[in-house]
């Protein structure tokens, strides 16, 4: 079997889990094995059903009293024990914070190599893998020699799609976890923003150094509000202290995948581009026709963002006078 880690947060499936399943299906076919999934710390029937819709034949439900919430050591150790128990041909997760961390723990427990951020995987002897370096601005061909390849697929390398629907079987597994691993379970959560956020927004209005100041972002905030989207920014902007780091799009910030990315006053330096390149459409607003982002955009307006953005906001308000009731038509589709 090919075993996929079903990342979830207290029973809510992560988009990364769907991407991992989408990435895994052709790999399982190539290996000629069934697709199985590891559901650690939950036995939620909705999750099992959704795994079935992604073509998972068997879900291994891994439960233990200390797995009440996510914890890297507990979840990683539980995964390592499951791997020993079910003997998969390979194991795959998505390269999210949790996915990479869980797999790193499992790899450490099993003393096996782990190849992260893969974009292409060909089984063989050795396995021939292409993975991302520099957030995706450089690719690395890797030869992997391992009895049991452990892999993570790069975030947004594939867009998630359901597979051939099967009724997933459930196999229960209780790992023998040391109580001390409870030390790194999540203790608390603090919610700062309700609603649409940078990793999930369908519209991102990004601003770069060209915005000119922290106050200059007000026009982007207004436009984002009209579009039911959020504001993002470049690394230059966070380094200048104009926006908080959580707004940064790029290699050291967030990797976004919106329906449309409106990049204003952003040159499109490589570390920004790798965070934005999974956007389905890109509209650049820049005074410099030769800016990198203009060459990579679907559409561009060659003008001063301080004039164009308020004009766009005004035009939207003119055509759609009432607040937009459904800003994210693709969500939940």
């Amino acid at each position: 079997m090919l075993l996929v880690v079903l990342e979830h947060d207290r029973g809510e499936m992560a988009e990364g889990a769907r991407e991992a399943l989408t990435f895994a299906r052709p790999l399982a076919a190539r290996l000629g094995v069934e697709l199985h999934a590891a559901l650690i710390g939950s036995g939620d029937s909705d999750l099992v059903a959704e795994a079935g819709r992604h073509g998972v034949a068997t879900v291994h439900v891994v439960r233990h009293e200390i797995l009440s919430d996510y914890g890297p050591e507990a979840v990683g150790s539980a995964l390592a024990e499951l791997i020993d128990e079910v003997d998969p041909a390979a194991v795959l997760a998505c390269a999210t914070d949790r996915g990479n961390e869980t797999m790193a723990y499992a790899a450490a427990c099993l003393d096996l190599p782990l190849v992260t951020n893969c974009v292409d995987v060909a089984p063989g002897d050795p396995w021939e893998i292409t993975r991302m370096q520099w957030g995706g601005s450089l690719l690395e061909n890797v030869g992997l020699v391992s009895d049991r390849p452990l892999l993570t697929c790069g975030l947004h390398v594939v867009a998630s799609e359901p597979g051939d629907h099967v009724e997933a079987a459930v196999e229960e597994f209780e790992p023998d976890l040391d109580e001390s691993l409870a030390r790194s379970i999540v203790r608390d959560r603090v919610v700062l923003t309700q609603g649409v956020t940078l990793p999930t927004a369908q519209v991102v209005c990004g601003g770069g150094r060209g915005v000119g100041s922290a106050e200059g972002f007000a026009i982007l905030d207004e436009l984002a509000a009209e579009l039911g989207g959020v504001v993002g920014c470049s690394r230059a902007v966070t380094n200048l202290g104009w926006r908080p780091h959580k707004d940064q799009v790029g290699q050291t910030g967030t990797r976004i995948a919106p329906e449309v990315y409106i990049a204003s006053g952003i040159s499109g330096a490589i570390q920004h581009w790798v965070g934005a390149m999974s956007s389905k459409h890109i509209l650049a607003i820049n005074t410099d026709r030769d800016a990198n982002i203009v060459a990579k955009a679907d559409w561009a307006v060659i003008a001063d963002l301080h004039e164009v953005i308020p004009a766009i906001t005004t035009e939207i308000r003119h055509r759609h006078p009432s607040p937009n009731p459904n800003p994210n038509p693709n969500q939940g589709a």
């Binding site: 914070d97 782990l114 992260t116 450089l138 890797v142 561009a300 800003p327």
Partner: protein, 254 residues
């Protein structure tokens, strides 16, 4: 507090990266080098903790002789000691790197006492394997959390914040612990003139260690195909707003 910060010398982020003809390395002839960004924040975080709570920061790197430059930079912004585990400059896989760091921690702790915190960047800017810190933590029997953007020390434990969609998670680990830091924890300071001068005099220690390569072998580096779009220019002024809104309507986001 005793804190060990593991840093990596990488080509300065943002530069166009070319590959050597054999495909086995980044062509560094035209490049400046820097400390990988997440690790620069880990170092700043460690220096701030020691400023608040007292103690000592040691910077450690696995890399070529030239990585002394990054250790001296670390000293110029507040590290008290620097340790180089020399390599021939070739890229080491994550298992090999982790093994020599584990051994180095054991040696340094046997001599100078336990590190309350061992800090890493969440992932290096170049190879980005996202696993060395976790492997080191596991071998040392210490808890680790990655993606950390907030650190508070309280007596025998350390409280960590990790960004999640719309907020953050809180972890509380007993010390000694291992932390993988993300950029955004702080804005790293620039070295002062005094710091620069002091860093020139600091004695850097070399610890010769090596380990068997792991199962992952670099075959070839290459650049992905350039994205070239047939960009449609909608206009050159605010009058383009109507065309922009037409497109937003077509995309169904309005």
């Amino acid at each position: 507090m005793r804190i060990l910060v593991c840093i990596k010398r990488v080509p300065a982020p943002g530069a166009r990266i070319n590959v050597t003809p054999d495909g086995l390395a980044v062509d560094s002839t035209q490049l400046g080098f820097a400390t990988s960004p997440h690790e620069e924040c880990a170092l700043e975080g460690a220096v701030q903790l020691v400023e608040q709570h007292g103690g000592e920061v040691t910077a450690l790197t696995v890399g070529p002789e030239e990585a002394e430059e990054q250790l001296r930079y670390a000293a110029s912004v507040g590290a008290h000691a620097g340790v180089l585990i020399p390599t021939d400059g070739s890229a080491w896989d994550p298992q090999r790197t982790a093994k020599v760091i584990i051994e180095a921690v054991r040696i340094l702790e046997a001599e100078g006492g336990r590190f309350d915190l061992v800090m890493f960047g969440n992932e290096s800017a170049d190879s980005g394997g996202s696993q060395v810190g976790v492997r080191v933590a596991h071998a040392l029997g210490r808890p680790a959390v990655n993606g950390v953007k907030g650190i508070d020390i309280d007596h025998e434990s350390v409280t960590l914040r990790r960004e999640i969609d719309g907020g953050f998670e809180v972890y509380q680990l007993p010390q000694p612990a291992v932390i993988g830091v993300k950029e955004g924890l702080n804005l790293p300071r620039y070295p002062t003139m005094k710091g620069r001068l002091a860093s020139k005099k600091i004695e850097l220690r070399h610890v010769a260690l090596d380990a068997e390569p792991g199962g992952q072998t670099l075959v070839k580096l290459h650049r992905p195909p350039e994205v070239v779009s047939n960009t449609v220019i909608l206009g050159e002024g605010p009058e383009s707003a109507a065309a922009v809104v037409d497109i937003l309507e077509e995309l169904g986001v309005l």
